[in-house]
């Protein structure tokens, strides 16, 4: 059965293209992140990360360090 444990989802306040760009270097250069995107079009501004190694807490810490809200989307 296909499982989706490698898709990590977060509710954030990354609301604009500028916010997204501010985080881009951090997320792009992280070798553990296969792919990421933020849904700027929707109210939860969901950050979606594909990673086979990272845990939710690690991403939350990383994003919060840059001054953004970030909590696990359950």
């Amino acid at each position: 059965m296909e499982n989706f444990n490698h898709i990590l989802l977060f509710r954030t306040d990354i609301k604009s293209e500028e916010d997204k760009q501010a985080l881009q270097p951090l997320l792009d250069k992280n070798k553990n992140i296969e792919q990421w995107n933020v849904d700027l079009d929707d109210e939860d501004y969901v950050l979606r990360i594909v990673s086979y190694t990272l845990k939710h807490d690690q991403v939350i810490e990383m994003v919060q360090d840059r001054g953004y809200n970030c909590c696990e989307l359950t």
């Binding site: 296909e2 499982n3 989706f4 989802l9 995107n37 849904d39 079009d41 109210e43 979606r48």
Partner: protein
């Protein structure tokens, strides 16, 4: 462990189509969609990268679906009258039997997803319709004219009747329910008008 559930995915698509048919794209949100489906927002984002991904997929799927239903039993080599009759029949059944779908398709046409919707639709259907049109002109059944003129005369009466029917009223709020007799009466007039 999260796993993919095709029943849930079907439900998501169904509710998304209904919501957009009713309220358009403006107020549509993943959060509201998840609530309406009784699933978590996270589940939605497992299936779809983002809102745009969901809506793009819906646009492409519906373009394909519409092309399929428009081409049902249609033969590009048929005579003008038989070929046009099948096109009327297909569009009529599709739009009357499925008012939600037809409203959703209208919304798609007016949205940023119109290119994805129309290009998928056309990719499958356009070749057939073009061949039919070339045939009827080369056989001398219909005289040559700008495609838009042909299309307007050939289909606008059908869409006007369907619109009256689906809205339940015609001009000035007069209650209206379309019958097959009315459909084919209008069709005969169109054929008369277009046939050389």
């Amino acid at each position: 462990m999260r796993t993919r559930d095709t029943e849930k995915e079907k439900l998501v698509k169904k509710i998304a189509v209904e919501t957009i048919a009713k309220g358009g794209f403006e107020s549509f949100s993943m959060n509201k969609l998840a609530k309406a489906c009784g699933i978590s927002v996270a589940t939605l984002y497992i299936y779809y990268k983002d809102k745009d991904d969901l809506l793009s997929q819906l646009a492409v799927e519906h373009g394909k679906m519409l092309a399929k239903s428009m081409l049902h039993n249609f033969d590009a080599e048929a005579s003008f009258e038989a070929g046009l009759r099948q096109q009327w029949e297909n569009r009529y059944r599709e739009l009357i039997n499925n008012p939600t779908l037809s409203k959703f398709n209208d919304q798609l046409r007016a949205s940023v997803y119109q290119d994805q919707f129309l290009s998928t639709l056309m990719e499958d259907a356009l070749v057939q319709f073009k061949r039919f049109n070339d045939n009827i002109i080369s056989r001398g059944e219909v005289r040559e004219m700008p495609f838009e003129v042909y299309w307007s005369v050939a289909f606008a009466p059908l869409y006007a009747l369907i619109k009256f029917n689906n809205e339940g009223q015609s001009l000035g709020g007069k209650p209206f329910k379309m019958t097959d007799e009315m459909l084919w009466e209008a069709f005969d007039l169109v054929v008369k008008g277009l046939k050389k």
